[in-house]
């Protein structure tokens, strides 16, 4: 190895070092620390009772109904919102791709939900669905207290999530859509393929990897949902998610041992979902990340 290659190598490491150190410090260290804390009985309200108890915290979480309910709720919200977002997002992407009038304005307004603070969006919809202050009941001629029942509360939460994150999905899919070569579509058209045939035969297969990346991003993002649920129901009516459970155990009840075990389990779930999507659907995440 010559000197210039060696110095390039050294510079490469040197430039990456601060970022890598920062990432290790703020994520790797705390998650390892969480793993360590999860092996203790450690309640900040009774610090004297701190003791090593092995996997007991995990046993009590995995055998409690609260955890499984929270996991079920999280999956309901994740699947419900991501499924609608994929469809709606693709429809919006097609619209932005094909639209002839005010294309720029349409694209710009779609960034609005993205730019709004999640807490603000959650409150806006909470007030909108509220039976006293809201307009939704008036619009639909209903008299429903949406957030006081489980399924209607889920509806409002999922609706808010969809509203907030579909534009991101649409922009991702739009970027994939523009990569579909126009002449291939044109050739198919000349050969007599109708619009549906072109969509299912050419566009969608060519966009597979874009769909997979979007699915992966949004599923993992939806799985850690906290803000919307906290603001709209605080987990009442059995709508609490795993993040809400973790937060309540750690910060509200100050039970660091039990809460850290919840945190580690959430982390493992996220890893599992990522592996499942990458392996199961073959999302070509790293293979494509090379220089063009």
């Amino acid at each position: 190895m010559n000197a210039s290659r060696r110095s390039e190598r050294r510079l490469g490491w040197l430039l990456c070092a601060p970022a890598v150190a920062a990432l290790l410090l703020v994520t790797a260290y705390p998650i390892l620390y969480a793993g360590w804390l999860s092996l203790f009985r450690y309640d900040l309200r009774f610090p004297g009772e701190r003791a090593f108890i092995g996997l007991e915290n995990y046993v009590s979480i995995l055998s409690s109904e609260v955890w499984w309910r929270a996991l079920g709720n999280t999956l309901i919200i994740t699947v419900g919102s991501v499924a609608v977002e994929l469809l709606l997002g693709f429809a919006l992407a097609l619209l932005m791709h094909r639209t002839l009038v005010a294309r720029r304005a349409v694209r710009a307004t779609l960034l609005v939900p993205y730019a709004i603070i999640t807490v603000v969006a959650a409150l806006a919809w909470k007030f909108a669905f509220d039976p006293v202050t809201g307009f939704v009941n008036g619009l639909l001629g209903l008299d429903t207290a949406w957030l006081t029942q489980r399924w209607s509360a889920f509806f409002v939460i999922i609706f808010t999530e969809i509203w907030k994150t579909t534009p991101f999905m649409a922009l991702l899919l739009l970027a994939g859509l523009t990569l579909v070569p126009h002449d291939v579509l044109q050739a198919a058209r000349v050969d007599g393929a109708g619009p549906w045939r072109r969509l299912f035969g050419i566009t969608l297969p060519l966009m597979k990897s874009t769909f997979m990346v979007a699915l992966l991003f949004r599923s993992l993002d939806a799985f850690r949902i906290f803000d919307t649920v906290y603001v709209q129901t605080r987990g009442a009516q059995d709508t609490g998610t795993v993040s809400i459970l973790g937060y309540n155990t750690l910060i509200t009840r100050l039970n660091l041992g039990l809460g850290s075990a919840v945190a580690v389990l959430i982390f493992l779930c996220v890893v599992l979902i990522a592996v499942f999507i990458v392996r199961g659907f073959g999302a070509p995440l790293f293979a494509r990340r090379q220089r063009p």
Binding site: Y33, T99, L250, F267
Partner: protein, 279 residues
């Protein structure tokens, strides 16, 4: 790509779709604006738009003890987190894209993995650490955990952008005798500035949006940011949600960010999608 020859029914269809999209995106914004402008007496009138306008809730929010402090905290914390992560991210992204060294792909993969990280998983340990280190309820106490999502985003957006910069200029400078570091400062920085700017806007929005860390790691006006302040806003009465004051506060924090986003929308769209799709 625009096919100008489209027949007018098709045009009409797409225009209707465009209008629908705008209604979709703007309805809640108009709604929260309307809530903030309604007179207190009209709050329960179930109308989407106010019948008469009043600025009383804006006055209340500005006179409030918590909100201006939270606004200052949010601006300061989000700006510093942006500055820090974009600086570190620029260095790392340059190295990943321009320099050949073993492990650069691992840095990118690691950044991506960190971006998927559930923040609630580290809230507990940080809560405990911050109490012992005296970082609980301070600005650095939020800026540091924000690195978990701002830094990966910065590295990702920047390396996607840096790939598009012409290599030759960098190489030419080095042939002319510049060291890799000089090539970085003189040639790449001016070319990269727009990308850095885009990354900064995106990172700022993410930091500005955070609620979980702010709720868990702050407790007073010293470091509590806007999302936490709005979510925990109690107003004068503890038993009634001060809906309209919350709406006014929401409008105050939403409008400036929205203006920035709309002004730079093309760059933001490019930055948001670059890393994820083209890669």
């Amino acid at each position: 790509m625009t096919r100008t020859g489209a027949a007018w029914p098709e045009r009409l269809l797409w225009s209707a779709g465009g209008v629908l999209v705008m209604v979709y995106a703007l309805a809640p914004v108009v709604w929260i604006l309307s809530l903030s402008l309604k007179r207190a007496a009209d709050l329960g009138d179930r109308h989407f738009l106010p019948r008469s306008l009043s600025l009383e809730h804006y006055r209340a929010v500005i006179a409030d003890a918590q909100f201006p402090a939270a606004l200052w905290n949010s601006i300061g914390i989000a700006s510093l987190a942006t500055l820090l992560s974009v600086t570190l991210g620029t260095l790392a992204a340059y190295a990943i894209v321009r320099l050949d060294f073993p492990g650069r792909r691992w840095v990118l993969a690691g950044a991506l993995a960190t971006a998927m990280f559930p923040p609630v998983a580290i809230v507990g340990p940080l809560f405990n650490l911050w109490r012992t280190l005296g970082l609980f309820d301070t600005w650095p106490g939020l800026i540091l955990p924000y690195m978990t999502f701002t830094l990966p985003l910065a590295i990702w957006v920047l390396s996607a952008y840096f790939r598009e910069i012409p290599w030759e200029l960098d190489k030419a400078a080095r042939i002319d005798g510049a060291t890799p570091f000089q090539a970085f400062i003189r040639i790449i920085v001016p070319l990269a500035a727009p990308g850095v700017f885009t990354a900064a806007i995106l990172v700022f929005i993410f930091a500005w949006n955070d609620f979980l860390f702010a709720a868990a790691l702050t407790s007073t006006d010293r470091a509590r940011t806007v999302p936490a302040a709005i979510a925990f806003f109690t107003g004068s009465s503890r038993f009634e949600l001060p809906t309209q004051a919350i709406a006014a506060a929401s409008v105050v924090v939403t409008v400036p960010v929205m203006a920035v986003v709309l002004a730079f929308q093309r760059r933001i769209v490019a930055g948001l999608t670059a890393g994820a799709v083209k890669g």
